[in-house]
């Protein structure tokens, strides 16, 4: 990740681009994590909890 920047524009372009990619990945990831976190609730809703699986 070593990068040399000659202008502020280059620095901003690189960091902002990286940040936007991370934000998009994070938004998708957090939705997946929320679904993972609520896995037991979904099981309950489907009546699969407590030995019914």
């Amino acid at each position: 990740m070593e990068s040399s920047f000659h202008t502020l524009h280059e620095f901003m372009l690189f960091t902002e681009s990286m940040t936007y990619i991370i934000i998009v990945a994070a938004l998708l990831g957090i939705v997946a994590f929320w679904r993972f976190l609520n896995g037991s609730d979904r099981k309950k809703d489907l009546g699969m909890d407590e030995g019914e699986e």
Partner: protein
Amino acid sequence: MSEETTAVKKIFPPDRSLYTPFNVVIGAILILGVILSILRFTGGLATVTNLDHNYPWGLWIGFDLMAGVALAAGGYTTSAAVYIFGLKRYHSAVRPAILTGFLGYALVVVSLTYDVGRPWRLPFPFLVQQGTTSLLFEVAACVGLYLTVLFLESTPAALEWLGLKKLRNIVTKLTLVLTIFGVVLSTLHQSSLGALFLIAPGKLHPLWYSGYIPVYFFVSSIFAGLSMVILESNLSHKYFKDKMDETHLKEHDRVTLGFAKGASFVMAGYVIIKIIGISVANQWALLFTPYGAWFLVELLGFVALPCFLYAVGVRDQNLKLIRRTSIIAVIGVALNRLNVCLIAFNWYLPLSERYFPHIGEIGLTIFMVTIGILVFRFIVTRMPVLYEHPEYESH
């Protein structure tokens, strides 16, 4: 029997022996603490601390204050969840959480009297020189006001115990106002404690320094508070089970699962904003340095890992896993505050000039924690904190 005798028996029940292993250890710590306190207030800071011009803030600020305030956040998170967001199923967790918060903040103020060179000047920001442009003024104002709020919020248990019904009913009517006030004040000073470091970009290691540090401190205080409630609830369940009523015992598991879910989600958000912070400042290369490795230990080992373990615990309804995870999460928050205040602070100094706490500082920190545990134990074994007083309806 006179009223005075009854009161004395209430405070010191005669059926309990004073010479238990717990009391002996606690007694030894208290004696040591009193000796260190005398040394501090007669000999000055240099007698019991290693503080110098490079490190005017040491263990007492890094742990007692910064970690103490973060871990005492359980008070505002729990009362906000119950009274503002209407999650009444966690009601039984409110009183112990408020009590833990109140004791935490009270000990922060006591620790400050040890740490500040001239403690009698603590009221000066309000009385002599307001210094309203200083973040420390804001922190002082918020901590002072929030301590008052926590005191008022924790009084119903004491008033029920003392049988002062009228006063108790007046304080109970203020619950919602106090909760809102508490959330506002906590949001302000939890973030301001982080903002204090904005003034030291050259001193704090770039991986920990960020323009977002106030946000980091605030967000981490939320899961610190939730994790502390889980830990405290688990310990109370273990040691004061006989003091808990049916409702408390029934709601215990639900509180653990609910708070773990909340903490896990907030921790995930915290990891994301920390990564965004690195990206915005383009600090990726620093992750491959020794400090970078330490930063990753803190972020991955003490935030991302407990976040995942909480999630697995919630999914599998594994309460044991959640309880153990809360210990990692609490240590993680304390480690973060110590990193910001001490370990990653003045990181460029040679090892010979770095700060390591004096034995007196460590001793007095243990003394403060012990006082907190003792007062908590004194209160929950006597007042209706872990159970509802039969004469009062749930509010």
